[in-house]
Amino acid sequence: MCLGVPGFVVEVDGNMALVDFFGAYRHVRLELVDQPVAPGDYILNHVGYAIRRIPEEDIEGTLEMYRQLLREADDDLMAGDVRAELKATGERRDV
């Protein structure tokens, strides 16, 4: 539960963002993030909430570990935890 998962912000509507997590579009809440979040930003999601806007210079380094993890099978503990983080986000609703 500590790892979180980074994603790309597609849309922001009030306290809710539509976020692209490696191709999966999910809703994430923004009440806890301490910087303004706009489309084009990357955020770190934890149990359905963005807890950090990822600084631009750190985005690529942050994403690489997850890309590798998400290629792993479900029974890998770290990959399983990352997938659980994705399930914590809201299903995409039709706008």
Binding site: M1, V47, A88
Partner: protein, 376 residues
């Protein structure tokens, strides 16, 4: 003490990895005594150490021990008992996945579920709130985890919950337990690796008072193999130099003050309170209790939780041999437990550390971890 301590580290740079390993060996040797024992307090760190086989490459005299870093594992039996009792009383319970199989004194939520109780596994508190909104029946969210999940509970509470939604808080707060582990008789811990994402919330400044009191260095680390290696090098160098300070090796996520927006919400909903961490100790200020203003959604105040039945059920004899508490305190490893890998396996766990994907025993079992492969 600086945010500049951490350089950007590429994920799989073999040259850098070899260089860090050599630096770690040199630093451990330069300490001039053995073993050097350090502790990290994060299941994700242990996953990374085990999954990438880092421990096999650690110097023989460096012991890297996982402490109370599994939020599921440190949830105490009486806290699970409350959730089980509520479930058996007919109250619908929602909680994070691994909590369902964690044993209380004599039963888990999975046991209650098998008897017909309604237990929902959720990935976020919002999913529990959404379910509560669909009907008028009471729904209790068994809220577990460290500051990273506690802030989500706080935000959800502040955003408004339906009248039939209640919180049974077993949230824990990491910084106080580090003090307890340091002061334990028999503790050999000379330095700590602090969890990167918990520190994203609290900031690294929170560890300064701890360092001043205990004269033990703390390094904040990220989750990639090279992040962990680099943090260990810095930590052992500080031990070598008898320098106690906080170093932030995860500046891309952690600042000195942390996430003030999240902290503000946390303390608008919770107050620190003393409480037991499973098998470890009573930890002053280690638990998060709902403030009085949220009494109306506090499950402990709203429901008469009937724990009497649990007194009729004896804990299993096997569970009395479980050494999870000593493992989480850094006094033992899974290899010291007679149940590990025999009676206690992921499918039929005896202790909480074998249940959770962030538990030391589960991680060691899944990745075939040894105390120190260089000794095999």
């Amino acid at each position: 003490m600086s945010d500049q301590a951490g350089r950007e580290l590429k994920f799989r740079d073999r040259g850098q990895g070899a260089g860090l390993s050599a630096a770690l060996a040199a630093a451990v040797a330069a300490v001039g005594r053995a073993p050097v024992s350090v502790m990290h307090v994060c299941g994700s760190h242990e996953q990374a150490i085990a999954r990438f086989g880092l421990r096999a490459g650690f110097p023989r005299d460096l012991h890297v021990i996982m402490g109370p870093g599994c939020p599921v594992c440190i949830t105490d039996q009486p806290e699970v008992d409350e959730a089980v009792a509520l479930a058996r009383q007919g109250v619908r319970i929602a909680t994070y996945g691994d909590m369902v199989r964690v044993p209380g004194t004599s039963a888990s939520l999975a046991d209650a579920q098998a008897e017909g109780a309604r237990v929902d596994v959720v990935y976020s508190i919002d999913q529990a709130i959404a379910t509560a909104r669909e009907s008028a029946e009471p729904m209790v969210f068994f809220a577990t985890g460290f500051e990273t999940t506690a802030v989500a509970t706080a935000a959800a509470v502040l955003a408004g919950t339906p009248p039939n939604f209640f919180v049974l808080s077993a949230h824990k707060y990491i910084p106080p337990v580090m003090e307890i582990v340091c002061e334990m008789p028999g503790s050999r811990i000379e330095g700590f690796i602090a969890a990167g994402h918990a520190a994203t919330i609290t900031g690294w400044g929170i560890f300064e008072a701890f360092v001043a009191r205990h004269h033990v260095p703390v390094v904040i680390a990220g989750f990639e193999p090279l992040d962990i290696l680099a943090a260990l090098v810095r930590l052992v160098e500080m031990i070598r130099d008898r320098r106690a300070a906080v170093e932030n090796m995860f500046p891309r996520c952690v600042t000195r003050e942390g996430n003030l927006v999240a902290q503000r919400q946390l303390w608008q909903v919770f107050a620190p309170a003393g409480g037991r961490w499973r098998g470890i100790a009573h930890v002053p200020n280690g638990n998060l209790r709902l403030l009085d203003r949220w009494a109306h959604l506090d499950a402990r105040r709203h429901f008469a939780i009937d724990l009497a039945r649990l007194w009729d059920e004896a804990p299993s004899p096997l569970s009395q041999q479980c050494v999870c508490g000593d493992i989480m305190s850094g006094l033992k490893t899974p290899a010291d437990c007679p149940l590990f890998g025999a009676e206690c396996v992921p499918d039929t766990p005896v202790g909480a550390c074998m249940v959770s994907t962030e538990g030391t025993c589960r991680i060691w079992r899944e990745y075939g971890e040894q105390t120190c492969l260089s000794r095999v």
